[in-house]
């Protein structure tokens, strides 16, 4: 009756190559973690201080803003979009947060913190609104516009200067410690946990993956596609606000050129961490690994006194490698399908 299905389930001839395909696919999924491990091992050999507690702590603290941005970027890339504005929005949020604090220092600076986050939410909303309601062809367009506009607004509002006025709570969030644990790292962990629950467990997160898998099909099964898309930009914007808090907390100021190139780093972290530009694939854990890879490269090459510009070249190489892994995955899946269809 369904002999062809059974033949596949049975442990017969096609399985040897099927098994090796399965293995290769699993290996690709572990690719980012393996890269990270190899990098750590290499730097450990090359530099005696690399794996000291102090340096490891440095790496995670220095990577925390990027990690938060990358988590936000993941959601956008999951629906096959891109958010080019997060670096500028980060800067704008530090400027607005610092300005609000100079006007109003009440409530322990919580108005200022709210201003950081609200800046992210509003810009994220505008990005998503322009994309879905303005029927723009690709997320590239509204977020590119926001990239310029947010940066311009940050420069206008601050007169192009740093504003050395942020509340204590922001400084704590950006550079404080609880016992031996850096607060920004705890913040990253908290946000990552929420993101994991959203992506893995909640219906809305499931829908984000479905929209990324196939927009048209998602529409047909009744998913409110436009609202899902809008929500990922809200998340990305909010994360830019949090990253702004961390950045301002580390420098104790709001400044309009903060987060330069951060959007590209965040995109790189997602892609290196196994997120697919085709949409529908990627995980929070992968993104954290991707961010750490970038952090480790920067830190390790620094320790080895390698010129800063080489970091960019290495990062570029790893991006190409990561995307090639994604392409290879698609190819292997195709092979796998053919095997399944033949069934013998």
């Amino acid at each position: 009756m369904s002999a062809f299905m059974e033949r596949i389930t049975g442990s017969q001839s096609p399985l040897s190559s099927e098994r090796s395909l399965r293995w290769s696919l699993a290996l690709i999924r572990l690719g980012p973690a393996i890269i990270l491990l190899l990098l750590i091992m290499a730097f450990n050999v090359l530099s005696p201080v690399f794996l000291t507690v102090q340096n490891v702590s440095n790496i995670v603290v220095q990577t925390s803003a990027l990690a938060v941005l990358a988590i936000g970027q993941l959601f956008v890339i999951l629906v096959a979009g891109i958010d080019l504005s997060v670096g500028s929005v980060l800067a704008l949020s530090t400027v607005i947060g610092a300005l609000v604090f100079t006007w109003n220092q009440g409530l322990g600076g919580s108005l200022s913190v709210a201003a950081f986050l609200l800046t992210g939410l509003v810009t994220g909303f505008l990005n998503g609104f322009m994309l879905t309601k303005g029927r723009l062809p690709h997320a590239f367009i509204p977020t590119l516009a926001m990239f310029y506009a947010a940066s311009g607004l940050a420069l206008v509002l601050s007169n192009g200067r740093a504003i050395p006025h942020v509340p204590g709570i922001v400084i704590t969030l950006g550079s404080g410690y609880i016992g031996p644990l850096p607060v920004p790292v705890l913040l990253v962990a908290g946000l990552a946990l929420v993101a994991v629950v959203l992506t893995k467990r909640l219906k809305w997160g499931r829908w984000i993956y479905l929209v990324g898998g196939d927009k048209e099909a998602a529409r047909r099964v009744g998913i409110p596609v436009d609202r899902v898309i809008l929500s990922v930009f809200l998340i990305s914007g909010l994360m830019a606000g949090f990253a702004g808090v961390i950045t301002a907390g580390r420098t104790a100021s709001g400044y309009p050129t903060a987060g330069e190139l951060a959007e590209l780093q965040a995109i790189a972290a997602v892609i290196i961490g196994g997120g697919s530009f085709f949409g529908g694939r990627g995980s929070v854990a992968g993104v954290l690994v991707g961010a750490l890879i970038l952090g480790v490269i920067a830190n390790g090459l620094n320790l080895l006194n390698v010129d800063e510009y080489w970091q960019l070249i290495v990062a570029g190489g790893i991006i190409v490698f990561a995307v090639e892994l994604d392409v290879l995955r698609r190819y292997l899946e195709g092979r796998f399908r053919t095997l399944q269809a033949r069934g013998d």
Partner: protein, 270 residues
């Protein structure tokens, strides 16, 4: 007594589960459907035939809420319905398997089964509720089992499945959720003989599960195997119907292609 019994059976016959009256649909200057009427009986497997561009897909998209017809009425179990979205059709118990299957390659079988209607707990949280993965998984496996669809594993991503397996999953999904009607657009067009037979069996057995079926196909052999009746469209017009049998094979073909073949056969014109 006798007369009464006749009356009730007559009634049942005469309230089709689905009826389309005088449906017209235009795309700009294209008249995709021209005053088409159609009825689907309870427990019937109805074939919708026609050449490329005849309007078959357009008709079923009007029935599944993807398109809204310009004119015409739809009756479900005798009651008029309007279908403004695919969701509304689904809520009424009508499921459609489109030509592109609407499957999600990045999800496994279970995820695809419940795509867009994942059960959550607590329910009032809606989209922010916790997806009941265990429940979904056991229910989906139950459905696949009762439809006798055997897959290597319900946890395998759809993207890794063959065309036949994908079609089987999409059809089984529709059969499990479509309480009344399942509509399939060319379910065997991309499949080899062996994979087709599995899907055809699903269609043939659908009435046993209380589901009536409309199936579009270009393959007359398949139609003859599983369908009770065939309606033919040509250039948006319903040109006739026939019982799909080997004897009617040529008649159906001439209805589909029309023109010279039809004149030669002396078939009636639309």
């Amino acid at each position: 007594m006798e007369a009464e019994r006749e009356q009730t059976s007559q009634d049942e016959k005469e309230t089709p589960i689905l009826e389309v009256r005088n449906m017209t649909k235009r795309f700009g200057a294209t008249l995709a459907l021209d005053n088409v009427s159609l009825e689907l009986q309870r427990g019937e497997v109805l074939a919708l035939l026609g050449d490329n561009g005849a309007g078959k897909s357009t008709l079923i998209k009007c029935l599944s809420g993807v398109h809204q017809p310009d004119e015409g009425r739809i009756f479900l179990e005798g009651e008029e319905v309007t279908l403004n979205s695919p969701m509304e059709a689904r809520d009424l118990g009508m499921e459609t398997v489109y030509q592109d299957l609407s499957l999600f390659d990045n999800m496994n079988v279970v995820g695809n089964f419940y795509a867009g209607r994942e059960p959550v707990t607590p329910r009032w949280l809606g989209g922010w509720g916790w997806v009941r993965d265990g429940f979904m998984s056991s229910k989906a496996k139950e459905s696949l089992e009762s439809l006798q669809v055997n897959l290597p594993s319900a946890e395998v991503e759809i993207g890794l499945m063959s065309g036949g397996q994908r079609q089987a999953v999409a059809s089984a999904r529709a059969m499990s959720f479509g309480r009344k009607i399942v509509i399939l657009d060319e379910p065997t067009s991309a499949l080899g003989a062996r994979e087709s037979s599995n899907v055809l069996r699903l269609i043939k057995e659908a009435p046993e599960h209380g589901v009536s079926v409309i199936v579009i196909s270009h393959n007359l052999e398949h139609v003859i195997q599983v369908c009770h009746r065939a309606v033919v469209l040509r250039q948006g017009v319903r040109v006739g119907e026939a019982e799909p049998t080997e004897e009617n094979h040529e008649r159906l073909v001439s209805m589909i292609v029309g023109g010279a073949a039809e004149e030669g056969k002396g078939e009636k014109q639309a």
